[in-house]
Symmetry: C2
Subunit: 452 residues, 2 copies
């Protein structure tokens, strides 16, 4: 084999089914509960918000689900994505480790999010929806849904947390290029937004408020549905196309990972790369360590409790069993906005609880230091979220330099940082804060988690 | 052949030589002249600024020049780049035309510029340089050189036109991530900058001033060289890797272009895609129309004169024979900053004069209208410069809808617009100005072009 830098797949090798890990697990994940009755919710509870195809995927027991041709056609605008061998970084680190990274930043929206926004838009359009609503923070998810809506003739209406809307105007501009309508949240177009405005005309907004606005807009409108960019089973399912491709690519070059690292916010990027490898591990075909990497200021897996809690800040959503820091826990303002979530995808939490994953929490200065080394050797300027995966990968590569181990490390590089350069600027100027571990704040927020 | 969306190449198919069109032309391009003696300049005149390998490429009569392994290794971080069939756009336009586009936005810096910054950095490092200096406007070239410098251990010092430096901070941040030092120009670190500052403390700068600063910094320092991102023969040479790949890709799917369109600023992106196809046309293997697309407010080919003029605004550079609007012509402030150049690459001008190319000039509203349609179907948000190529491609596709012709159109999509979203915003808000054709301004500037 000649010295390769990246492993590319032909379009004909694009996986044509998603992998559902649930039936392969030794026990099923606990069911979500209705926020009022506290009874397990059924498909009918979800129909005001989601089309039936997605609800059925949410509860599916099938191991594999075919990717519709219409979705594959859109995936081909950027998929299969490249798998890289980080030879230039290995040289810089002088490590015997073999470092691989799977790069999702080549999608039109610049991250892994379109892997699920596209099928969500497709199934909604198929079910007759005319409009999708959603919330977005920094804007990765909102732009992914705007792009997907344009592909299937759906209107897209996005509520973006006002502080991000004002600070990062390029993300909302991008959504508008794809035809979406974008509101700063709180907005004056929903009752929830107007109520917040009445209390605080200068409210910077929050993801919790934006969710309320998007849900309130969709629920009563028979032509509108709501879309969520992480956490749910069907979102994780759609992301497994990443791992299925990476399996093929590693096989092509005759490598199997000893360690797989991915950042975890809601958990969908991590699940997308790791679940297919977990399947192979369960089948005895390989034995990688699979590691979640979370920010030290929002350490749901390493410092949270595994119990039922709300998915949102204000307690509107179903109760789900997950690692949580408390539903009203507000993380310190680190630059990796996509990792500032109080909980973890219930499926990732369940698998972690089963002992099949490990987790580390890393401060942001270490992450950006690693990401700058990465950019200067591999070229790619990473989004703030996957700098956590890069930092964990680099820890292991440097450990291998000490021990001489030739470990193979596979890294989830889920997006580029073209809209996040101010965070690099802060790092290079020495202005980036490493917040203390939020132990007291967690204890406080946990005191308000319902006892089930 | 199944329905493909993009045509990918393996790394093993990456071209390993650049194509030099000069020996294939029916007559040689006129030589550059010394700005003072007005005699043809020789290699020795250029040694204070460029290493000998690049000077020899500048005057080479070899048809093919091997790409060094060290350059190929860096190219592999993003090359080969994808060739797309724009099936979703074809459907929207309801055209029988087959639309292809070659996408260079997958490079770390987001454009075609690293195709030449990488070999320029390599040859300079090989010759013992420790530092490269350059100027940049919007920042595409500066960031490409910053990336390349990091790959070969070279310091990079960039003078960025102050108005862009202030308005688009993300580009300078990106350069700093890759380790470059960036000055707003005029700066206080060169005599040229200090002189301008003394006259006008609030000067917004210009590319001409920034060139002066970068050249003045490099010329007297034996460890520093200067790098230019377009116009010169060796720059065009390096870009031919684009067209060589596209030839392979078109062949793979059994297509030959009837029309090739690319935007022309300095000419390097256009030359990069078109020269290899021009070779095949000269050899009788295909017969495409090859079209330059320029902005209506800076129409060097369609409205300029073919004569000797300076490459820079203030008359420091050699005199080169090219289509020029006058070296002190200042184009209206369209968003496609990379196309705001008063002249054209001498090699492109010479070939245009030989009747082997045609040219059109397009106003920016038509360009952005086309680019928004493109983004909503193909996903990619294009840089302002290649929106001109998209608009010309779309004109032809719509013409084909009228005539029923099944023309094959190949489009040079030289970069993404992630740092240019304010221009889309202006278009969507109806704020984009289509400036009048600058006839009087051209006549005025031409009156100051030296008579040779």
């Amino acid at each position: 084999m000649a010295e390769y830098t990246k492993v590319v797949l032909e379009e004909s090798e694009l996986p044509n089914r998603w992998y559902n890990i649930v039936p392969d697990l030794p026990s099923p994940p606990p069911p979500p509960l209705h926020p009022k009755t506290r009874e397990p919710i059924g498909p009918d509870d979800l129909t005001p918000l989601f089309p039936m195809d997605l609800i059925l995927q949410e509860v599916s027991q099938e191991r594999f689900i075919d990717i519709p041709d219409e979705v594959l056609e859109v995936y081909k605008l950027w998929r299969p994505t490249p798998l890289y061998r980080a030879r230039r970084l290995e040289k810089l680190l002088d490590t015997p480790a073999k470092i691989f990274y799977k790069y999702e930043g080549v999608s039109p929206a610049g991250s892994h999010k379109p892997n699920t926004s596209v099928p969500q838009a497709y199934y909604n359009a198929k079910a007759g929806a005319k409009k999708l609503t959603t919330e977005t923070g920094a804007g990765q998810w909102g732009s992914a849904l705007a792009f997907a809506g344009a592909q299937f003739g759906l209107e897209v209406e996005v509520w973006q947390v006002r502080s991000s809307y004002d600070q990062k105007p390029d993300r909302q501009r991008m959504m508008r290029v794809w035809g979406a309508e974008v509101h700063p949240s709180p907005s004056d177009v929903t009752e929830a937004g107007r109520q917040i405005h009445a209390l605080d005309p200068d409210s910077p907004g929050s993801l919790g408020i934006a969710i309320s606005e998007a849900v309130m807009r969709a629920a009563p409108d028979p032509d509108a549905k709501y879309a969520l960019g992480s956490v749910l089973n069907h979102v994780l399912l759609h992301q497994t196309v990443i791992g299925e491709e990476a399996l093929l690519q590693m096989k092509k070059v005759g490598e199997t990972p000893d360690l797989l690292v991915g950042c975890t916010g809601g958990g969908s990027n991590f699940a997308g790369l790791s679940f297919p490898f977990l399947r192979e591990k369960l089948a005895g075909n390989m034995n990688p360590t699979i590691r979640c990497v979370e920010p030290a200021s929002c350490p749901s897996l390493t410092k949270g409790e595994y119990r039922y809690d709300f998915g949102d800040t204000i307690g509107m959503t179903p109760l789900v069993k997950m690692h949580t820091l408390g539903h009203d826990f507000i993380p310190d303002p680190i630059h990796a906005g996509g990792l500032r979530y109080h909980g973890m995808a219930p499926l990732v939490s369940h698998i972690y609880e089963l002992g099949m994953l490990d987790a580390v929490a890393i401060h942001q200065n270490e992450c950006f230091e690693a990401a700058v080394k990465f950019a200067r050797t591999e070229g790619i300027v990473s989004a703030p979220e996957p700098t956590h995966a890069i930092a964990a990968m680099m820890r292991e590569a440097l450990r291998c330099r000490e021990t001489g181990e030739e470990k193979t490390i596979l890294t989830a590089l889920c997006g580029h940082g073209h809209f996040d350069l101010s965070s690099y600027d802060a790092y290079l100027n020495g202005e980036l804060v490493d917040y203390d571990l939020p132990e007291a704040k967690i204890a406080d927020a946990m005191s308000r988690v319902p006892v089930i």
